[in-house]
Amino acid sequence: MKLKTSKSKERSNKADEKQKNILEMLKSHGAKIYDDLDNEQFPKFSIPSRSVSNIVYDKKLRQYILGNNTALRSSRNSSQLRSFTQLMWLAFFANRLTKEKKSSTLRDVYYSSQAFAIEFEDQSESDNIIVDLEAITSKPREDFHIFPEERSSIFGDLTIEYTIPGYEGKTMNLSNHPDGYSIGPSLTTAELVDTSAEIVIAIEKGGLFTRFVEEQIDKKFKSVIINTGGQAPRSTRTLLKRLHDEMKLPVIVLTDGDVYGEHIAMVIKSGSANAAHLRELTVPDAKWVGVWATDIEKYKLPTIPMTESDIKRCYDLQKDPRYQDGIWKKELDVFLRLKRKAELEAFSKYGLTNITDKYLPQKLELAKSL
């Protein structure tokens, strides 16, 4: 670990600034409710509608966003009173978390509610309220210190500086531990200090991640390697965005050669409809480099047949505005034509390091022209 520098102090101030903004925003919402009550009014607020009809694709932003429809939530309405109170509690709870810099999970939130006589029927109800808070504030829940439980991991020459209590100012290089570092609250909130990498390689599977570390892909190709663990969690997508925006690193995505893999790449690039209310989770410049449907034929990969649901998924995605052109459309059509798919491990047929020795370099080269 390195010592604090003046630069790190600056960064620390940046983190404080962010926390201050969040707290200010929560306070202003709270003050409005407080004033309503004090004036003998039933408090109310409006919230962007998250119904399917209000989710539209923004071509400029290259992601799904919420339209202009809003819903009014009033504590006067007895059928909304309960969820109104739940949301107030969540804001109150998020306020405490943010103030005390404590992290929690969706599950934690569900259980914490019980200490305040706020009953959630199940976790999906509390999860839903958390999305409400995100929609109102246009901030991802990670900003309120609520983190997902699924963890993905990162490896490579990247120096970070912690901002969480007890570690403030401490720095760490993420190439010190060959199993990689899990992307949790402390890493998500850390400042990105320095890197020698020139590219970020996001890979769908833990097995391949380990292979890449073993084969020193980080050094060979000056890269930061991230294991998304399937569909990338939001904290991972946030980190990818920051690596791209703050460290100016291009991002490429390597997935299985099937329709789900293609969509994993798409979500990193342009988000999901589920998170249409948030705008800081996408890396529009991210590039999907494989495994493409055309690669299956080109590299003569061993395949397995698509299932019914694989095929249905293809047809569903054909209707998505993001799949109307470029490689997205082309590869989707080929998948439908082949009706077969290939996993990343399929390259092992030609030797365990075939994928790192042959396939990856070709794809990295190709990515420059995409």
Partner: protein, 623 residues
């Protein structure tokens, strides 16, 4: 070859019922004990109703040997404060089958007093003990009988008869019978309980064999108006009934003996006086209206014989030939048969014709049926193809059948007269329901009188919700002529109507605490079986039940929606009271304030606002 000779024997009614006791509800010890209780209690109530006495009925069941296991002999005693039965009638009334006082056409619980005798018969068969009847008519002397039935001859056998002085009138009947109280107890207690609901003006008490006492004091002081006995409606008639009515309407030509002549003289006021023939006729004309029928016939005969009393004593009427207008008689003086012509234009000729050939059709109809006046009678005669003056006595069998059929078919008779019915009335019914169930809501209705097959009937219904009523409703309490019906409810028309109702439409949901009371009053309840437990689904009765229930259900729905709004308002107020303080707590910390916002007034305002709204709604419903 030997020939088989069949023996035909006439059996007595007692023997018939002995071998068919299942029909009357005496099939097993459980059912028999219950039926016996019913028969005696109902007789007691009927007797009091008829005389307008507020009934006090006391039912006692005691095991002869409490140690024995069921079924075993029990002593069943029912005491009342009714009019009692005259001591000369007691042996016949309790010692023969089919002897009763209830043969008139009006609403009563039992029809012929048959059931009580059946119970006595059953008791005698199973325990061989006599029935003990104590009766006082005047409230001073009480006759006590111990009776057995001579089953083969349908005759009472008086075992013992004594009298003693008492201070109250009334009847007490005590029988010993084989029964099973452990099984029948529930039904008997239900029966007593439900009877007191539909007979709120009666005090009914029950001492059960286990030493428990059930007391249901009266809570209504007025007896509903007693039913009147009325003539039958033409739609409710059959050939046999017409035949009997004709027999009742015809008179024998009186035997003109000394006693008869003495009676005629007395009625004419001529006991001490001898008048000439013309003098007698003049006197008779003046007194005609006051004369009894027999006397009129004698006068009529005298007018054709042209005889005074002295001559009359010396003859005997042999034949009256109305067709040939000749009167034949035997003259004792001359010792020969003589005849005289009758003048058909004489008013006395008509008098004789009536007596010999019966009344003309129109008179028969107007005099003996309800809802038939002279005009209707003429119209009907035309409809049925009879001459209006057709004499009833001259009708052939075929003509009687035609008459009976036409009476059924003719549609222009007014509906039967309901004055023979004795519904309980809306007020006492409502009072009873309130007392028994302490409900949150009650509604009652008495439908206008209606009729099926010539028998008038009235439907009374009540509905109640909440209070002490158990959930799992509707619980249906069925009554017919003030008798609770407890068995066989599955096949009953009332249950059918209730089960056809979609209660969700009336805002009754879930496992509701509500009851329905239904009371059918009629001169003849169309029971499905002789056991008197379930009512058949006659369309006319079903329709009235449906209309009654719909009316009540709408009232219930109005109440339920009012109740729903009140519940909702209360629920909302509770919700506000629960959540607003939490919101206040959370936003206080969020807004970084020290003091909580002043939300108390908001909750108060909301509460009063809600209750105002409900009160307003209630008024609207009332209006």
């Amino acid at each position: 070859m030997s020939s088989i000779k069949e023996k035909f024997n006439q059996i007595s009614p007692s023997e018939f019922f002995y071998s068919n006791r299942d029909l009357a509800g005496f099939s097993n010890p459980t059912r028999s004990l219950y039926t016996a209780v019913r028969e005696f209690v109902e007789n007691a109530l009927d007797a009091c109703d008829q005389k307008g006495i507020l009934p006090d009925v006391h039912l006692i069941i005691k095991a002869v040997d409490p140690e024995k296991s069921d079924p075993k002999p029990y002593v069943l005693t029912v005491k009342d404060n009714g009019p009692g039965i005259d001591s000369s009638h007691i042996p016949l009334a309790f010692g023969t089958v089919l002897y009763g006082s209830k043969f008139g056409l009006k609403q009563a619980r039992g029809m012929f007093g048959l059931g009580a005798t059946m119970a006595i018969l059953y008791g005698q068969i199973t325990t061989n003990k006599p029935v003990i009847v104590k009766s006082s008519v005047d409230g001073k002397i009480q006759d006590e009988f111990e009776l057995l039935l001579d089953i083969q001859n349908n005759k009472p056998v008086i075992v013992k008869h004594s009298t003693k002085e008492v201070s109250k009138h009334g009847l007490s009947v005590s029988i010993c019978l084989e029964g099973d109280y452990s099984k029948a107890g529930n039904k008997i207690r239900d029966y007593v309980y439900e009877t007191s609901l539909i007979t709120p003006y009666a005090s009914i008490s029950f001492d059960d064999p286990k030493g428990e006492k059930f007391s249901h004091p009266r809570f209504v002081k007025d007896i509903p108006p007693p039913p009147t006995i009325i003539k039958p409606h033409p739609h409710g008639i059959d050939v046999e009934r017409i035949r009997r009515m004709i027999v009742e309407s015809q008179f024998e030509i009186p035997t003109i003996d000394d006693a008869m002549i003495e009676k005629v003289r007395k009625d004419l006021g001529l006991s001490m006086k001898n008048l000439s023939f013309t003098g007698i006729m003049d006197k008779a004309k003046k007194k005609w209206k006051t004369l009894p029928r027999q006397v009129r016939v004698v006068i009529a005969l005298m007018s054709f014989l042209k005889m005074d009393f002295d001559k009359l004593m010396k003859i005997k009427i042999e034949d009256i030939d109305m067709a040939n207008k000749k009167l034949f008689y035997w003259d004792f003086g001359d010792s020969q048969s003589k005849s005289t012509d009758m003048d058909p234009t004489s008013p006395y000729f008509k008098q004789l014709t009536n007596t010999v050939q019966g009344e003309p059709l129109t008179t028969f109809l107007t005099k003996r049926f309800q809802r038939i006046g002279p005009t209707t009678a003429l119209k009907f005669a035309e409809f049925a193809g009879f001459k209006p003056e057709k004499r009833m006595g001259t009708m052939t069998n075929q003509e009687l059948v035609n008459l009976s059929d036409s009476l059924q078919k003719y549609e222009d008779f007014l509906a039967p007269d309901p004055s023979c019915l004795a519904p309980l009335g809306e007020k006492p019914l409502e009072k009873g329901i309130k007392k028994f169930f302490n409900p949150d809501f009650t509604a009652v209705v008495q439908r206008p009188a209606s009729a099926y097959s010539g028998f008038p009937f009235i439907i009374e219904m009540g509905i109640a919700y909440g209070g002490d009523i158990k959930t799992g409703g509707p619980h249906v309490y069925r009554y017919a002529n003030r008798i609770p019906l407890l068995y066989d409810e599955g096949s009953d028309v009332v249950l059918k109507v209730v089960n056809d109702t979609d209660w969700g439409r009336y805002k009754v949901k879930g496992d509701p605490p509500f009851i329905i009371v239904s009371h059918i009053c009629s001169t003849r309840i169309p029971y499905k079986t002789a056991g008197k437990e379930n009512v058949a689904d006659r369309p006319e009765i079903e329709r009235e039940l449906r209309l009654g229930l719909q009316y009540l259900s709408r009232k219930l729905a109005a109440y339920m929606s009012k109740r729903g709004q009140a519940d909702m308002a209360k629920k909302r107020a509770n919700l506000y009271a629960k959540y607003i303080p939490l919101i206040a707590q959370f936003c206080t910390e969020l807004a970084d304030k020290k003091k909580e916002p002043n939300y108390k007034k908001l909750l108060e305002d909301e509460n009063s606002f809600e209750s105002e709204k409900v009160v307003k709604k209630e008024d609207e419903i009332e209006n």
